[in-house]
Amino acid sequence: MGEEQKMQEEEKPVRKLDIKGLVCPYTFVKAKLAMEDMEVGEVLEIVLDYPEAVNNIPKSMQDHGQKVLKVDKTGDKEWVIVVRKEKD
């Protein structure tokens, strides 16, 4: 397996969470609850449309010891955040 492919494997989300329509703090609360149900090392993909949460979720996830792998703008008002669980 090539390096790049291995990276992609490691970043492959095991779970997708759609929190479009939710506002802070429920955006993070929902994301955190989803992470709690996952194993360390697993990756969560979060789809959201609340602009403030695009900054807040990655910051809070880092504060809680999780690894933010990417934040992508995927539409006019849609973002995808990918986080790997590092800590229970």
């Binding site: 703090p25 609360v29 955190k32 609850l33």
Partner: protein, 266 residues
């Protein structure tokens, strides 16, 4: 169990805390806490535990609400004067949080019924206003190895301590026997600042939440003393007494007893 959308909102400030989270909140919802007394201390204790989502709250008291209670007993109200305190408190707590199952027990704990009452609960919180109950609850918790959060108030001063039987001190390690009847005045005789049980009750509720969550350091082997007049908190170390009559190496108290004789019942 999964949280409903309403629960996610209700408990969001808990869930956000790394020390609580969804897992901690589920522990709170599954916890069973017994509050002894629905008076000055029992009211704020039950109020905050209800708000926190402690799933089962037992409350025992044999009194009815009087207007003179309302200066400090915040779960009761003008509209519940004459109602049993446990019923008045249940109404208030369940109105605050319908997730909570409040078990109201109108009556007085004694050596014959206390074991049966305590057996269904994980943690006991003492908010009683008299020495016979205080010592009975301590002894029963030691025998049954139930964590006990004990609080007391008078005038402008309050105390809190957390008893983890056979791990830390117990109430009798601190004060071996009840004082003689009449030596220590009651709130009825000496007065109490209305907000004082709020402070001490909130501290007791905090101790209980920490025990349920398994976070922080409880007031084990420690007596916390609060003086409202000087706004000072003082921690006094209370080591286990190896000669304690109930939790020591050679206990002399091996069964529950009632100390009612001569004590003012209110």
């Amino acid at each position: 169990m999964e949280f409903t959308d309403l629960q996610v909102q209700r408990y969001s400030r808990h869930i956000i805390l790394p020390e609580v989270g969804g897992k901690g909140q589920k522990k709170l919802l599954a916890a069973k806490v017994l509050i002894v007394g629905a008076g000055g201390l029992g009211c704020p204790v039950g109020y905050y535990l209800s708000a926190a989502g402690v799933g089962t709250i037992g409350i025992v008291d044999d009194d009815v609400v009087e207007v003179s209670n309302l200066q400090r007993q915040i779960a009761h109200s003008t509209g519940t004067i004459g109602m049993p305190k446990v019923e008045s408190a249940k109404k208030t707590f369940e109105a605050l949080n319908p997730d909570v199952n409040v078990i109201a027990m109108k009556g007085r704990l004694n050596k014959d019924n206390i074991t049966d009452v305590l057996k269904d609960y994980d943690i006991v919180i003492d908010g009683s206003d008299n020495f016979p109950t205080r010592y009975l609850v301590n002894d029963a918790c030691v025998f049954m190895r139930k964590p006990l959060v004990s609080g007391a108030i008078l005038r402008f001063e309050g105390q809190v301590t957390t008893i983890i039987p056979h791990e830390g001190h117990c109430y009798r390690c601190l004060f071996e026997a009840p004082p003689p009847p009449g030596l220590v005045p009651s709130c009825q005789e000496a007065g109490v600042l209305g907000v004082l049980p709020g402070v001490i009750g909130a501290l007791e509720a905090t101790e209980a939440l920490k025990l349920i969550l398994g976070r922080g350091e409880p007031l084990k082997n420690t007596l916390l003393i609060y003086d409202a007049l000087t706004t000072s908190f003082r921690k006094v170390k209370v080591p286990r007494n190896p000669d304690c009559p109930v939790c020591g190496q050679n206990p002399t108290i091996t069964e529950l007893a009632d100390y009612d004789a001569g004590y003012c019942q209110r």
